[in-house]
């Protein structure tokens, strides 16, 4: 799962190395529009629908947080 999430992130921002940050929002790796694109890609890739109430920065701050939110809907 982590590899697939990394692939999606790299596709969004190919110029960044997402393994080097522990807070994608604070470090400027993802803005609110990137977060929307990320959710849309996660929904498609993992056949889930992350609900709006969970689309908050904390749930997309790092790889572990993203993995946890995907697991919640799997």
């Amino acid at each position: 799962m982590r590899e697939k999430i990394l692939e999606i992130l790299q596709d969004l921002r190919p110029e960044l190395d997402f393994t080097e940050s522990n807070d994608f929002i604070e470090d400027g790796y993802l803005d609110s529009f990137d977060m929307v694109a990320l959710v849309s890609n996660l929904d498609k890739t993992f056949c889930i629908s992350i609900l709006g109430e969970d689309i908050i920065p904390e749930n997309f701050a790092n790889l572990e947080a993203i993995e946890n939110i995907v697991k919640k809907y799997k």
Partner: protein
């Protein structure tokens, strides 16, 4: 807060849209972001094209055009209009009311009420509520409700959060007493978060000046001035995903009308992603909540609910009556919703500005 009205019907609904179409791809290079990154938003948010009037055209011009179209096609008689409501933030001036200006331009009778209400995304539903109240007064038999937005001068072209989704349109809705069904409505107002959608300058709090017109590059990479619309995207998104579903559930319980009874959810159109997530949250079929206005026209504030109605169901609602749910949510922050029977309208049409007379 809940409302219940008896014997109210919508008899005509006309949306007027610009014929000037701008494609998202053609504007993708104007933002401070790599084009590839901007284009990724196309499918997700429903950014395909938007429509804007020529620079000199503002909402009241389109309203006058639309009402003249209705007079000339015998859809409505001038003498029958007892109330003219203008519900939008796109006024001609601070003084006088735009509804009075429209009344004067059209030569309507003086024995009537003209009323402006400053509302944006929820303006259609708030306008309907006000119309029903006027009809209950006993002095008013026919209300003309004008909604819409012509916001382009107040949105920065260098703001990727807002510019791609704005559109312009005007709607004219005629409301009368009649019909045998109850109308159920709810309103939720949250002024604590009123800064989430704001144009900081241009009112009395911060008059427009040379300074407020200067573009500033912001932390998120967008450029806008204090004269421009500012949207706190996360706050607005959370409001729509948490408050709106709760309010709709409460309204359904109040009306005792549920998803199985409702033909369509005709909602304000902020963007496709937000509406699809809202449908998922409410556990309803996405197909019952059309979300195709932003991709084809853009978001025209209080004009979007009539536009989603006339664009998707115009001819159907001229033939049949169905139970529908209207909901407007956004600036305020406001959420206003109505469940009512709607249909067998005399006219439920979409026309282009300048082409139909």
């Amino acid at each position: 807060m809940f409302f219940k009205f008896k014997n109210k019907k919508i008899t005509n609904m006309i949306s007027i849209v610009p014929n000037n179409i701008i494609k998202f791809e053609d504007e993708a290079g104007q933002y401070n972001f790599p084009i590839k990154r901007t284009l990724k938003m196309m499918d997700i948010m429903g950014y395909k094209e938007h429509r804007l009037f020529n620079d000199s055209v503002i909402l009241s011009d389109v309203a006058v055009y639309g009402l003249n179209y209705m007079f000339e096609n015998n859809i409505i008689n001038k003498e029958d209009i007892d109330a003219l409501l203008f519900v939008s933030n796109c006024t001609d001036h601070i003084i006088p009311p735009t509804s009075n200006i429209i009344q004067g331009k059209l030569g309507l009778k003086t024995d009537m009420i003209c009323l402006d209400i400053m509302q944006a995304c929820a303006g259609f539903v708030v306008g309907l509520l006000q119309s029903f109240m006027l009809l209950d007064s006993g002095s008013v038999n026919k209300v003309v409700l004008i909604n819409g937005g012509t916001m382009k001068s107040r949105v920065s072209k260098k703001d990727r959060n807002s510019w791609p989704l704005i559109g312009e349109s005007c709607s004219i809705t005629v409301i009368e007493n009649g019909g045998n069904n109850d109308v159920f409505a709810s309103v939720y107002m949250d002024g604590v978060n009123s800064n989430a959608l704001i144009i900081p300058a241009g009112g009395f709090r911060m008059p427009s000046s040379e300074e407020t017109g200067k573009l500033q590059t912001l932390e998120d990479g967008n450029e806008r001035a204090l004269d421009h619309l500012t949207m706190e995207g996360v706050g607005v998104f959370n409001f729509v995903q948490t408050v709106v579903p709760e309010e709709l559930k409460k309204l359904m319980d109040y009306a005792k009308i549920y998803d199985k009874d409702i033909f369509a959810y005709l909602f304000h159109q902020p963007n496709k992603f937000m509406l699809e997530k809202l449908a998922d949250k409410m556990g309803m079929e996405r197909s019952k909540m059309p979300s195709n206005v932003v991709e084809n026209f853009g978001n025209s504030d209080s004009g979007t609910i009539p536009l989603v109605t006339t664009y998707n169901y115009g001819s159907l609602f001229e033939q049949e009556e169905k139970t529908v749910c209207f909901s407007g949510f956004g600036a305020g922050l406001t959420c206003a919703s109505i469940i009512m029977n709607f249909g067998k309208l005399e006219n439920c049409k979409l026309i282009e500005y300048g082409k139909n007379r």
